[in-house]
């Protein structure tokens, strides 16, 4: 009996210690999310997705109130991303033209974690691993593992001094690497001038604004369809009406997120004479699923396992 009580106490204490550990690990991630936004740093990181690899030069500056970023893709076709807060301007070279695209920015490396981790905590658990050197710096490895099969897992290498994410790798359920981003050079700076915050203009090229893809926020609840139960941990984060290339009518675009991964749902009416699209696939880190609900064409895709896109597609119910 005595032994049993002792064993229970020991087990309880271990569980307590584990919970405390994981709370510490969450704090490390929280700090990483803030450090990526509140530090001024520059370096080069390498981004790999599927068969493609790109090196990117990054400079990020925080003046105490605003964030400024300038990212230059060093491999292949020139491409630059300038960011101020959440607003992005992308200079995308296509043949003899440079197309200027405007976007809303989010989760740009190394700021891939949201500052509020509550939603992430409901779907993932965290544990720490070894320390390793990345980009010449000491890093703590943290494993962010999903609590179910509805999302991929992540491994982060976090700078022990700066708190920044130095390397991030996403794995699927079979422990295959889906994509990775890692600094191979990083240092902090504290100059205050913003001379560098401008694109490298090539005077021989013709600069044009991208044909604006009209989108507008959609707050109306459609009378034609409704969503039943979503896969665990996913929340609707945005809904808009947008034009999709090649579609005669605007399409409803709904975005879901579990705090890290995003899934897009497109709902549009089936058109006479156009064959309904029914199918699924996974290419690289992106899963795709489309089916038909009543008179509606449903299309879902995102950087999540196929089961998640299928569940979201099947959550759409046609209302007669």
């Amino acid at each position: 009996m005595k032994h049993f009580v002792l064993a229970c106490l020991l087990a309880g204490a271990m569980q307590c210690a584990q919970a405390a550990n994981s709370e510490e690990d969450w704090q490390v991630l929280q700090k990483a999310a803030l450090a990526a936004r509140a530090l001024s740093y520059q370096g080069i990181f390498v981004c790999q997705s599927g068969q493609k690899t790109k090196s990117v030069q990054i400079k990020h500056y925080f003046d105490g109130q605003n964030e400024f970023g300038h990212n230059v893709v060093l491999d292949g076709t020139p491409r630059e991303v300038l960011s101020q807060g959440g607003d992005l301007v992308i200079y995308n070279q296509r043949n003899e033209k440079v197309v200027i695209e405007k976007r809303r920015g989010q989760n740009m490396f190394p700021a891939i974690l949201p500052t509020n981790l509550d939603l992430v905590k409901t779907s993932y658990s965290v544990r720490s691993g070894d320390t390793e050197r990345v980009a010449g710096r000491e890093a703590q490895i943290l494993f962010l593992e999903p609590k179910d099969n509805l999302r991929y897992s992540y491994r982060f290498w976090i700078d022990k001094e700066y708190g920044l994410i130095l390397k991030s790798v996403m794995f699927n359920g079979n422990n295959q690497m889906m994509d990775s981003i890692a600094f191979n050079q990083l240092n902090l700076f504290n100059t205050v001038d913003l001379d560098w915050f401008k694109p490298r203009i090539d005077h021989k090229k013709n600069y044009v604004m991208e044909d604006e893809v009209p989108t507008k926020a959609d707050t109306n609840i459609s009378p034609h369809w409704t969503l039943k139960e979503l896969p665990a941990g996913y929340r609707k984060v945005d809904q808009m009406i947008r034009e999709v290339h090649g579609k005669p009518f605007p399409v409803t675009h709904v975005i879901f997120s579990d705090g890290l991964a995003s899934v897009s749902l497109f709902v549009e009416p089936l058109l006479n004479g156009i064959k309904p699209r029914v199918g699924h696939s996974t290419v690289g880190n992106t899963s795709f699923y489309s089916n038909v609900a009543g008179y509606l064409q449903i299309t879902v895709l995102g950087e999540v396992p196929e089961v998640t896109v299928a569940k979201i597609a099947n959550a759409v119910v046609f209302v007669k």
């Binding site: 790999q48 999709v244 399409v251 897009s264 696939s281 795709f288 895709l301 299928a310």
Partner: protein, 180 residues
Amino acid sequence: MTEQLSALADDEIALKDAEYLMAAMQPNSHSAELWSQYHLIGDVMRGTAALSPNFKQNLMQKIDLEPTVLSPNAGWLNQNKADKPSEEMHRKTPVTWSIAASFAAVMVVGWMVLQTQVGDTLTQVVVAEAVTTQQPAAITVSSAEQAVSEQAIPTEYLSAHQASAPTASSYYIQSASYSE
């Protein structure tokens, strides 16, 4: 020419724009042979079951066994069919034969059109038919679920997804529509 045939087989050219291709596909021509080869390749890639061996013969036999409802002696034929099928065969006039033949032709042409228009699986054809016959209740999610097959990710949706919900790598590594 071969590229256009391939595009037509993949449903990338509208049927109305391909009349000259149809005209080129005379029976026993090289184009007709390519046309059937492209469909065979497509079917194999999609994993669509091929038609059963002797499809045409089986179909003709089934049609022969069907009661041919023709007035005024249709009732008489039906009456005798059950007990004297062989006699019925003998009584078929050239008129009924030609009707059976044209029905078979319609079946085959209809099947080809459905293959090109709707594509992958038989269940999809069922979905398409249900849509055209205005019976939304018939298209349940489960029937659509059974019908799903491997498909490429449509780039227009991928671009829209990446524009509004980008991942950390999609800023630098672009979807197919941006291919360099």
